[in-house]
């Protein structure tokens, strides 16, 4: 590994480490009722929103109410966006209709609405050939805050399930967590990041495509638009759907290495900070830091794996071409390191904003991204949902640990009984069941196979599994060799996204409710040492083995077989 590449990875992880303490502390304050000067400035607005919504922000909500609130907000968001997409051709403003050749069919509108409302932001369309600026701004930017904010509220309810000392201590108020997360975290950070991006060259213009004559007299049409507003929240809210078709590879979206670096930090810092919020609110900071350590280890292994895979010479290059990494689908300005960093941050972070085209990655490189998504996005993961996924794995880990040492399992003083284990196992099964069942349907039907447009052989199989893994994990990146804008693909991927968001969400709220019904037992000699490296190792092992056992056959048939066939 070249020293400069290593330095970029190291700096990134060091900055995440340094930010986790302060970010975690600030989030604890936001969600326990004291957001500092922002609260003094925006408090009246917050209270006005509660009055409008007709909610009492201090009222404790049970897990069923929270799960309904989470689901209904998502569905309401999807309904509004679906309506907006269907009428967008009548909306005022640029771009002109003849600049948007992709038709907005009902199935594409449904897919897009579900996609953004679930925080997946899988894009079966290209922004600059399909959407009005008004749609991108009013529709998609809003969904970024909605999906990010509700995910964060889910994470907070989950933390409170573990943190409550007394039995039936509530999970807080969903609406309060959601609105406070948006007002005191996402909006201000997004504003700052958007302006930083514009400073680097991200466009923010309300104008139609610009037709110009190039230096040598050719004609060129440049798609412009209010991109910076979307590009910042897409990363902060771990949504990932970009303004342009090429997403994070587009120079008007991600113009410089610094813009890319800031975007990747935006994906990771809040989910990483939540581990410390968890540690503080449960008064077991060691347990929070151990979750952080396991996430960092998974992340770092991904960096190493993807770097190794993409450094290797592409099989497509003849001898006259110099040695060097696989650059098909990659951008010169990012170099290998920023491309790899973006690949790992986005595939682990439930955020599909890759800075390159995964469709042209090497077999193993694509396999690393796929594996990260199949892990359930737990290496920092989606905003709120990443911590939930890791804690679900922790529940399974203490159950396994309890079996091994013959002790009744508990995590932070909350007993892990049959009910908790059942919920965690069902949660862990949503991903394999969704991905494997839908992949089987797609590869064995003509409608599914019709999506294969570019690549031969085992790559097609990888593209299918990649698509459903991305949708079920609410990630959103895709291997572009699959043409996914058809009724079959639009509807089946939408189903995967709904299951990946709302089925797992309901299970998470149910587990939080079950935990909160228990009194928290004090620490004793019999407690599992969940802050110890030994437990960290068990947790890491659980995450990798549960995923590995579920998906080993498809990984062998896809990336591994393709890799072997290239030699």
């Amino acid at each position: 590994m070249a020293p400069l590449d290593f330095a970029q990875y190291a700096l990134f992880l060091i900055l995440v480490l340094l930010a986790t303490g302060p970010t975690g502390r600030y989030m604890e304050r936001v969600f326990t009722g004291n957001a500092g000067f922002l609260e003094r400035a925006l408090g009246p607005l917050e209270r006005w929103i509660y009055r409008l919504m007709g909610v009492d922000p201090k009222a404790e909500m049970g897990w069923q109410d929270q799960a309904w609130a989470f689901t209904l907000t998502g569905l309401a968001g999807a309904a509004v966006l679906f309506g907006l997409l269907m009428v967008q051709q009548f909306l005022p403003g640029p771009p002109a209709r003849n600049n948007l050749p992709t038709p907005m069919t009902w199935d594409l509108a449904l897919n897009t609405a579900v996609s953004f409302a679930t925080g997946t932001t899988w894009q079966a369309y290209s922004g600059e050939t399909t959407l009005r600026h008004a749609t991108q701004m009013v529709g998609l930017v809003t969904q970024g805050f909605l999906a990010g904010g509700t995910g964060l509220a889910l994470g907070m309810a989950f933390i409170r399930g573990f943190a409550g000392m007394k039995a039936h201590k509530g999970l807080g108020n969903f609406w309060s967590d959601f609105i406070r997360g948006v007002l005191y975290l996402l909006l201000p950070l997004s504003l700052l990041l958007a302006l930083a991006l514009v400073g680097q060259g991200t466009v923010m213009a309300f104008r139609d495509h610009l037709a110009l004559t190039t230096l040598r007299g050719g004609s060129q049409l440049l798609a412009l638009g209010p991109a910076a507003a979307l590009e910042s929240i897409k990363n902060l809210g771990t949504n990932g759907g970009g303004f342009f078709g090429a997403n994070g590879a587009h120079p008007f979206a991600n113009p410089t290495p610094l813009a890319n670096f800031l975007g990747m930090l935006a994906i990771v810092v809040l989910p990483a900070g939540l581990t410390h919020t968890f540690g503080r609110m449960t008064r077991r900071r060691d347990a929070g830091w151990m979750l952080f350590a396991v996430m960092t280890l998974l992340f770092a292994l991904g960096l190493g794996g993807l770097h190794y895979a993409e450094t290797a010479r592409s099989a497509a290059l003849p001898v006259a071409v110099a040695q060097g990494p696989n650059l098909e689908g990659k951008e010169v300005r990012f170099g290998l390191a920023q491309t790899v960093l973006a690949g790992i941050a986005t595939s682990n972070g439930a955020c599909g904003s890759s800075a390159a085209q995964p469709g042209s990655f090497s077999p193993l490189g694509g396999g690393v991204l796929l594996f990260n998504m199949l892990l359930g996005e737990v290496a920092f993961g989606g905003l709120g949902t990443g911590l939930v996924g890791m804690l679900m794995a922790a529940v399974i880990a203490v159950f396994l640990g309890g079996l091994m040492i013959g002790r009744s399992p508990e995590y932070l003083g909350k007993a892990v009984r049959a009910k908790e284990v059942q919920l965690a196992i069902v949660y862990a099964l949503v991903m394999p069941l969704t991905v494997l069942a839908l992949s089987a349907v797609a590869v064995s039907t003509g409608a599914g196979q019709a999506g294969f447009s570019s690549n031969p052989g085992t790559r097609q199989f990888t593209e299918v599994v990649f698509a459903y893994a991305s949708c079920a994990a609410n990630n959103g990146q895709g291997m572009g060799g699959l043409s996914a804008n058809s009724p079959f693909w639009n509807l089946t991927t939408a189903l995967a996204m709904l299951l990946g968001r709302f089925a797992t969400g309901a299970l998470a709220f149910a587990l939080a409710g079950s935990l909160s019904s228990q009194r928290r037992r004090p620490r004793s000699a019999g407690s599992l040492p969940v802050g110890s490296p030994l437990f960290g190792g068990l947790l890491f092992f659980t995450v990798v083995v549960v995923t590995g056992l579920s998906f080993l056959p498809v990984l062998v048939l896809g990336p591994v077989a393709e890799c072997l066939s290239l030699k």
């Binding site: 809003t142 071409v321 010169v332 572009g480």
Partner: protein, 197 residues
């Protein structure tokens, strides 16, 4: 369930106004004051005429120009249209795809035919399509590879061209973020300027 319906709908509508309208307008307003050029696409002018954007590559095919990366963008009806700024995207071809092998071989042949004297290894970025199809940059090695051809076609010395490439090589940001790169449009503009065109 019923009591959550109203707040669910109203939260969507409230955030539509707050984050879908107010927030982007605020970003646009501040951006217009603080970074007016960047917000509008960092356009490049020559003699008052807009000739492109510094961030978006252009198709150069003359032997006297530096060439950018191959671009896999298409126009309407999927007909190849390199550097189409209205339809970004990569080839999405996998390394094992025969189409990619054929495409790379054709680019290698075109580069060698344009400068038979250049026997050095061809930099990877000159024969592989970029992720956006709009990559404005090439590596310093890719510029160096083309220097001889450009010098001959323009009747300039190799040393002059190499010096120009060096002065147009951007180091990684803060000396370590990203990769060293040469902006092809700016480099070709500088070539023109050097010859008073």
């Amino acid at each position: 369930m019923i009591p959550q319906i109203r707040p669910a709908i109203l939260s969507v509508l409230t955030l539509t106004i707050l984050s879908g309208i107010a927030y982007p307008l605020l970003v646009a307003g501040v951006a217009r004051i603080a970074f007016p050029d960047q917000a509008e696409g960092s356009l490049v002018r020559k003699a008052g005429r807009v000739v492109g954007s510094v961030h978006i590559g252009q198709a150069f095919t003359d032997r006297g120009d530096f060439w950018g990366r191959p671009s896999a963008t298409v126009g309407t009806n999927a007909i190849p249209l390199p550097f189409n700024g209205a339809n970004s995207g990569g080839s999405n071809l996998s390394p094992g795809n025969p189409d990619l092998r054929r495409g790379v071989a054709a680019r290698v042949a075109a580069l060698q035919a344009a400068d038979p004297e250049q026997l050095g290894p061809i930099p990877v970025d000159l024969v592989t399509a970029s992720g956006s199809g709009l990559d404005p940059d090439i590596s310093p090695e890719a510029a160096g590879y083309q220097a001889n051809r450009v010098a001959k076609a323009r009747g300039l010395s190799l040393a002059q061209i190499q010096a120009l490439v060096r002065s147009h090589t951007e180091r990684p940001q803060f000396a370590f973020l990203g990769a060293a790169r040469v902006n092809v449009l700016k480099l070709n503009l500088a070539l023109d300027a050097m010859q008073g065109k």
